[in-house]
Symmetry: none
Subunit: 188 residues, 4 copies
Amino acid sequence: MGAEHQTKTKIKEAALRLFVEQGVSETTVRDLANAIGMAEGTLYRHYATKEELTRELSQENYAAFADRIRNTAGTQESLRGKLRAIAKDACRLFDTEPTLYRFLLLIQHETLPRLPKGSANPLAAVRSVIAEGIKQGEAKITDPQLGAAMVLGLLIQPALALVHGSLSGPLSRYADDIASACERVIIR
Amino acid sequence: MGAEHQTKTKIKEAALRLFVEQGVSETTVRDLANAIGMAEGTLYRHYATKEELTRELSQENYAAFADRIRNTAGTQESLRGKLRAIAKDACRLFDTEPTLYRFLLLIQHETLPRLPKGSANPLAAVRSVIAEGIKQGEAKITDPQLGAAMVLGLLIQPALALVHGSLSGPLSRYADDIASACERVIIR
Amino acid sequence: MGAEHQTKTKIKEAALRLFVEQGVSETTVRDLANAIGMAEGTLYRHYATKEELTRELSQENYAAFADRIRNTAGTQESLRGKLRAIAKDACRLFDTEPTLYRFLLLIQHETLPRLPKGSANPLAAVRSVIAEGIKQGEAKITDPQLGAAMVLGLLIQPALALVHGSLSGPLSRYADDIASACERVIIR
Amino acid sequence: MGAEHQTKTKIKEAALRLFVEQGVSETTVRDLANAIGMAEGTLYRHYATKEELTRELSQENYAAFADRIRNTAGTQESLRGKLRAIAKDACRLFDTEPTLYRFLLLIQHETLPRLPKGSANPLAAVRSVIAEGIKQGEAKITDPQLGAAMVLGLLIQPALALVHGSLSGPLSRYADDIASACERVIIR
DNA sequence: TATGAATGAGCCTTCATTCAT
DNA sequence: CATGAATGAAGGCTCATTCAT
């Protein structure tokens, strides 16, 4: 028990890293096999196709991040508190696991379009947080979907600027500013 | 006269569309040729490699969009006015030329890392608008780079949500909300 | 065990034959694959490029032929004996393995310029035989390099004439005449 | 009048040089056009195909060289004199027009196989000189074709050694040695 | 006649996937 | 289960040749 699980984990770790470093299309099955120290053919014992690996990787990480967002929000009472907590936690995540973060937020269009419509995803998580706040009368905006998109934009683009080198230092350095921006955009 | 120019234009239009629809790596030179109704080899009389076409396409469009941002900002006096104008113009652009917009903003990391460091780009254009506003004491934030990233985030993610179908209607429908968000994030 | 060796050998045999029959540039990777009964892609597991295959083929055969010349010379005491033995052995080789011989001697400039400067080659082998003879006072000529070139000329051009059909029959039919010619050109 | 002739001459000069420098297959029609300063399509007004240009180039130069050999031989009475004269003239030609010489003698197998069987060629020219000498009882060898091949070998391989850099200086430096070698191989 | 853009078959190479060991 | 050689369909690119101007 767990051997299969471990192997899949190893594969997914390598895939995550290589997909982020080189892009999904640009990462070959051989690249993956080499990185793991495993034969090419062996990969196919765990995933039917490269496509399936990609999908599973996306789905799982999106779901996990959505959970993380929900949990983070759960630690706070007010919408304002929830948003600030989410923003700060996202910054922390970027600094702690930049590869995962980049995969989650920056690779979106390479993987998102292939995900089943209803899968758990960060945008939906943020939206439901905001929707709840709207119901409670805490928000100034009225469209939770738009609000969620904007919040995500505030979290993604500074991270991208860091990746490209136009911003420097840990993202946490900007956590307060970003949190405040989220607050101002959403909160009444 | 201009035949060469026209052909290149036709190639770039097709490339823009296919790159956005399918991704850069996923678009083959044959796809391009077929879309234009041109032999594969002919493409190579105009661009030495697919890579060169991609680069030229990115550079030109990034530069043009940066110009557009600067011009839009130039129509207004205050930072607040400039930001609102930029936001609204971006929404208009998305609705008018969705393909171009998607190329500009969504293809970023497939394309941006390959651009020469100093090339004209939207982020830099927004940054200099904000930097000027900071000097004039109009901004609440202090880091123009961070501010520019956040503004871009507010413009990009709603657009992305539209593309993914989680938001509907023309982006202009949200133009006011987005403009206000930009204002609240940046302005004193 | 040896499977890899066998496959490479099969590839090299086919390459040798096709390169001689059609020329190196004129032989496509598909030609090679078809001749071997192997997929094109498979070739690339054994040789990184067609260029690498060509180089290895040349180097190995040149080195082997140089060895053969040295060994043949080693069976004789006198320079005269060595030269006659080399000439006769070369004729035998042409009759026995015409493809190899043609590759060695006729493909020279398609192939030689790409070889590393110091690689073992027939010209050097003959030169050192002659150089030794000069030291022993057995030669009439004084420049071993020139002597070696002339001896090679006496071995190559009759072979070429046979290939072109202007001379007929096995080259061995002319072995004595060629051996005598070598002798007269070099020996005191 | 002569305009056509001049153009063809310019084309042939460029072709000769490029074919020798890069090989026939490796020289593209565009290479040729660029070297001449002429459009690609224009070449086809003078030669129906690259193949035809190659053939004409070979035929003419082979014929001219065969003539030159016959003329050189004609200046001498004895077979010995003829051979020495031919050898020395060949060395002179190599030093004066190395490109032409390389084309004539070193590119043989790239072009010879395509020539019509009976075309004038150096080997035939030398053969008839030797055949005449045999009839006159001046030769020690009995097969004029073999003799001609060997003489050509003595002229070609030293030239090749020079080209490859294993021999240095003008070929004329070795003219006497080569002439003597020819004499010893052929003359009674 | 000259031009050079256009053609399209074909070249070398890559890569996701299969399969015998 | 693991392996890695084998497969073959593309992919990017080249090039002899054609043709509208």
